[in-house]
């Protein structure tokens, strides 16, 4: 039995899956002051039906990290950067950094000496117990970051230090720095939570391994998440995408919608696989290296406030309360759905009253409702089309990829969320394609969490001319003997390292895949003197199994 708990903005849902079926589910209001309370409430409700010993795995998807960041309940972090020459980055981070001289160049060569005085002499540093350290090209050579790390440990005995190169193995100094900073900022809060949840589960005799859902839809053992809590940001939308994956076997190109109270999250699926944000997610306006699904959020949902201004309908993005049909005071999209006959709950008369309030002179409530829904569709379809345009015009760096350009030809809109039943078919109709709303969509997030696959990814880069390879996520940099090392050897080595890491953290080593690879000859004076090989591999993300969308209340 697999248990999934999703702590959402309004509700905390829990489901237990056995043999592709939801066998128990629970829904309680989210306890915003202490997320753990609601979480345990939902868990205890589950445990009334299921025995603790029957659970094989527990996956938590929580807003803890997102909330900590939004509510600024984060630690003050000493941010140390080693930027070397290049763009002026002093104002690019959430926190003014302390800059240390030193440089690693693009080949991972030490090109400037570390100025250690700045670390030992900087009085400011003594004030912090948590640090983030990030150096340019540290993924090519983590040496300088590690030297700073050692110095901090010796001089200040910090609680925690986040290193940019261990947060992400990919190029992008600014993103790694932001990731390391946010990781350090939520580290303490997340670790307190992890501690509490471990205790609470132990008290309930749950011995099943506990996993945390990440923004990329993969799960990691709690113990690993404790080192990299930033990856647990934005798990709500990730759980939703996984829920859709579990409840509906998508093939071909698909658009998925999660239509909630005030927002609609849109994702694109190419050949049945959700697209990722290529470089990483943004946290507030700061670009990070946190892997995440590529989602666009538009400010319309069931509770969006509807009004007419200067003759024009305005929809959202704010919510002033529930639908008038449900006792609210202002017209909402849900009122329009009820009047248009697309939803069947609440007081229809009150919904009609709502539509009268937004109707033009002489316009019937039904016509006004249709106009509202048409506007909502236009907003959502506009955002979908922008995403498709952006996707198919992604820069590519090979002639071949220009000639055989990627196409995106959606055939289906799949929707989940509170207001989806009325809206998804309208969006699909506007686009001239079909729509599908899986049953069980009300607990899609918890289902997604329950069946999410454990994932990890690593980046192997070999530079045979210099005779080394590195895997920054593992803090690894080792020698290789030049001549015979090829892309095939790099792949094999990367898979071996990935399998070893999976074994170490006790997750299955199956379904490894290559995400990206490239191979270049290094030429010196007209002779090939080596190769530069990059190989990024992962344990495949997605769901462990499909789930039949039958709710059990």
């Amino acid at each position: 039995m697999l248990l999934g708990i999703d702590v959402g903005g309004t509700f905390t849902d829990a489901v237990v899956i056995q043999g592709q079926q939801i066998i128990v589910q629970a829904k309680v209001p989210t306890s915003h002051d202490n997320l753990l309370e609601g979480l345990l409430l939902a868990l205890d409700e589950i445990l009334r039906t299921v025995k603790a010993g029957q659970l094989e795995r527990v996956v938590l998807s929580t807003t803890l990290v997102t909330n900590a960041l939004v509510q600024n309940e984060i630690d003050d972090v000493g941010l140390i950067i080693i930027p070397g020459p290049g763009m002026n980055v002093s104002a690019m981070f959430p926190k003014t950094p302390i800059t240390v001289n030193g440089y690693i160049d693009h080949r991972g060569r030490r090109a400037g000496v570390l100025d250690t005085q700045e670390i030992t002499k900087c009085k400011q540093l003594a004030e912090y117990s948590i640090f983030a350290v990030s150096g340019k090209f540290s993924v090519r050579n983590p040496l300088l970051e590690q030297e700073v790390f050692n110095m901090l440990n010796d001089a200040y005995h910090p609680l925690h230090v986040s290193l940019g190169s261990q947060i992400s193995g990919r190029l992008n100094f600014v993103r790694r720095t932001n990731s390391a900073y946010f990781n350090a900022a939520v580290w303490h809060k997340f670790n307190m939570f992890a501690e509490a949840i471990t205790q609470a589960l132990a008290q309930r005799d749950i011995v099943a391994p506990v996993y945390i859902l990440k923004a990329d839809g993969g799960t990691v053992p709690l113990i690993l998440a404790k080192a990299q809590p930033v990856e647990a940001v934005f798990t709500g939308p990730a759980a939703s995408v996984l829920g859709i994956m579990a409840l509906h076997h998508s093939c071909g190109d698909v658009i998925s919608l999660d239509i909630g109270g005030t927002t609609t999250d849109i994702a694109l699926w190419q050949d049945g696989v959700p697209l990722f944000a290529e470089r990483g997610a943004n946290i507030f306006s700061y670009p990070t290296a946190v892997r995440a699904f590529w989602l666009k959020s538009v400010g319309v949902g069931g509770d969006s406030f509807v009004r007419r201004q200067n003759g024009n309908l305005q929809i959202g993005p704010m919510r002033l309360g529930p639908a008038m049909a449900l006792g609210g005071e202002n017209p909402t999209v849900t009122d329009a759905l009820i009047v248009a006959g697309k939803a069947n709950f609440g007081h229809k008369q009150l919904a009609e009253l709502a539509m009268k309030r937004v109707a033009n002179t002489g316009q019937s409530p039904v016509d006004a409702a249709d106009e509202v829904l048409a506007s909502v569709c236009r907003i959502i379809v506009g955002a979908i089309n922008d995403m498709i345009t952006e996707h198919i015009s992604q820069p590519v760096y090979k002639v071949e990829d220009i000639i055989n350009a990627v196409k995106f030809d959606p055939q289906l809109v799949v929707g989940v969320g509170g207001a989806v039943k009325g809206l998804a078919p309208l969006v699909a109709k506007e686009m001239g394609i079909d729509s599908f709303i899986p049953t069980g969509s009300m607990v899609a997030n918890a289902v997604g969490a329950a069946v999410a696959r454990p994932t990890i990814d690593i980046t192997l880069r070999a530079d045979t001319e210099q005779g080394y390879y590195s895997i920054p996520e593992l803090g690894l940099r080792k020698s290789i003997s030049g001549a015979r090392f090829s892309l095939a050897s790099a792949r094999e080595l990367a898979f071996d390292c990935l399998a070893a890491k999976a074994q170490e953290i006790n997750i299955p080593q199956t379904d490894m895949e290559i995400m990206y690879e490239e191979e270049f000859n290094v030429v010196k004076e007209f002779y090939t003197s080596g190769k530069i090989i990059l190989c990024r591999v992962q344990l495949k993300s997605g769901v462990l199994m499909p789930v039949l969308g039958k709710e059990v209340w």
Binding site: P85, M87, H106, N172, P395, Y397, K398, I402, N521
Partner: protein, 439 residues
């Protein structure tokens, strides 16, 4: 102040002339690494564009390929020319203030008449872009500043008879470097005299020398010419570490030039110090064009003490600038003298060598000057090479503004020539009808 910069980055990771040629897959690998690592593609004011494919008709607005341009190019050429066009569209549609087409393969050695590849270039991507702009946006006056270390002989050839295009090339002296041309006495044919500006520099010229020329000469030329648009052929091989040349310019020198020039569109040309120069120069140019702080973009191995300009070079450059200032001041009078001397016909015979394909071409250009219009010109070509054997062609080029009488005369001359049958191929490149007609 920041400006929105359009960046068309296309490193063509699957294209090379040959695997160990300087124009190989690896050329922009380290530049890609640096740009990505710096986080430049996340800057809201830097918008990355995917290059479109140029059409053959875009190419034939400039080139006459023997036997066809299509037979001489690869898809990569259509992407790099298309990348330059994409950059230009972004600027002219006012999506961005400026744009940088950081693309390969390069183009500035490709001339109008094309038998093959020379100086790593097959088609002239700037010229294809400029003629696209003229056709689609009605741009007239164009200034090109070619900052590649090699003389931009292809661009010079294409615009040698065009008074509306000011072509300024500074480069290492042709007596010491490929292609061996670009001397100060190559000034344009009489009708366009003084709109070709060559500034051959001695090996060892530093940032000081370069900026002395810019501040005391180029800036004034640009002001006087009043271009609708400024294009930078942004070659990067004047760098002190370039393996194919002997100059001493730094990333800062290039970035400051980009900052002063504020070109509307920059297009990458050469530059083969792919590890030690290109990553830094490109980051410098991108930041400067985006109006951002580039002062910290410095090569890790830079040793300014090693890069001091000798007093001999300094005084040589000062003399060169004085000389040019005088020509520039009197250019209108001198142009009239040239027109008068020509008596309506200007002829040039020359040999052109295609290093990549071992082709030797003999070419004769005849420019027919007209008091009422820009006139017309013809190009007669014969080429020999191991892969092509012997091939010959005769082409007549009519400008968009050629008067009816010139048009008639040009066509008569072309058909008379065709009757003799001395050449294998005959072409009419008619800018007014926007076609390359094969007779």
């Amino acid at each position: 102040m920041r400006n929105k910069l359009g960046l068309v980055f296309f490193p063509a990771f699957d294209w090379a002339i040959t695997p160990t040629h300087p124009e190989r897959q690896e050329r922009l690998l380290y530049t890609r690494d640096q740009i990505v690592e710096e986080g430049l593609l996340d800057i809201p004011d830097i918008i990355e564009y995917r290059p479109r494919l140029a059409a053959i008709s875009d190419l034939e607005r400039v080139h006459i390929g023997i036997p066809t341009i299509k037979s001489l190019i690869t898809d990569a050429h259509l992407v790099s020319a298309g990348g330059a066009i994409t950059a230009a569209d972004a600027v002219l549609n006012q999506e961005v203030k400026r744009a940088f087409a950081l693309v390969r393969p390069p183009g500035h050695h490709a001339m109008r008449m094309v038998h093959g590849t020379r100086g790593f270039c097959t088609i002239n991507i700037e010229a294809v872009m400029i003629e696209y702009l003229r056709k689609h946006y009605g741009i007239e006056r164009v200034a090109i500043v070619d900052s590649d270390v090699h003389h931009g002989d292809g661009t010079q050839d294409i615009y040698y008879h065009d008074p509306n295009t000011l072509f300024i090339s500074f480069h290492q002296d042709g007596r010491t470097l490929y292609p061996g041309t670009g001397f100060a006495n190559e000034l344009g044919s009489p009708g366009a005299w003084g709109t070709t500006v060559n500034i051959p520099l001695p090996p060892g010229t530093t940032d000081d020398g370069l900026h002395y020329i810019y501040d005391n000469l180029i800036v004034r030329m640009l002001e006087d010419f009043k271009p609708d648009i400024i294009i930078n052929s942004a070659g990067q091989d004047n760098h002190y570490s370039d393996p194919l040349a002997s100059m001493a310019i730094t990333a800062q020198g290039y970035a400051r030039l980009a900052d002063k020039l504020q070109a509307d569109i920059a297009v990458l040309e050469g530059g083969y110090s792919i590890q030690d120069a290109l990553p830094y120069i490109n980051v410098g140019i991108i930041l400067a064009m985006a109006g951002m702080d580039y002062s910290q973009v410095v090569e890790p191995d830079l040793d300014r003490k090693k890069l001091t300009q000798s007093s001999r070079i300094t005084s040589y450059i000062e003399g060169l600038v004085r000389n040019w200032q005088e020509i520039w001041t009197n250019r209108e009078k001198l142009r009239q003298e040239e027109i008068h001397k020509s008596k309506g016909l200007w002829v040039q015979n020359r040999s052109i060598y295609y290093d990549a394909d071992g082709i030797m071409e003999q070419q004769r250009q005849e420019v027919h000057l007209c008091p009422h219009c820009p006139g017309y010109f013809s190009v007669a070509t014969e080429a020999n090479g191991p892969n092509i054997g012997y091939q010959s062609a005769y082409a007549t080029v009519l400008s968009a503004l050629s008067c009816p009488q010139c048009r008639r005369q040009a066509k008569d001359q072309l058909s008379a020539n065709k009757k003799t049958g001395n050449y294998q191929y005959y072409f009419l490149q008619d800018k007014q009808a926007d076609i390359l007609e094969r007779l």
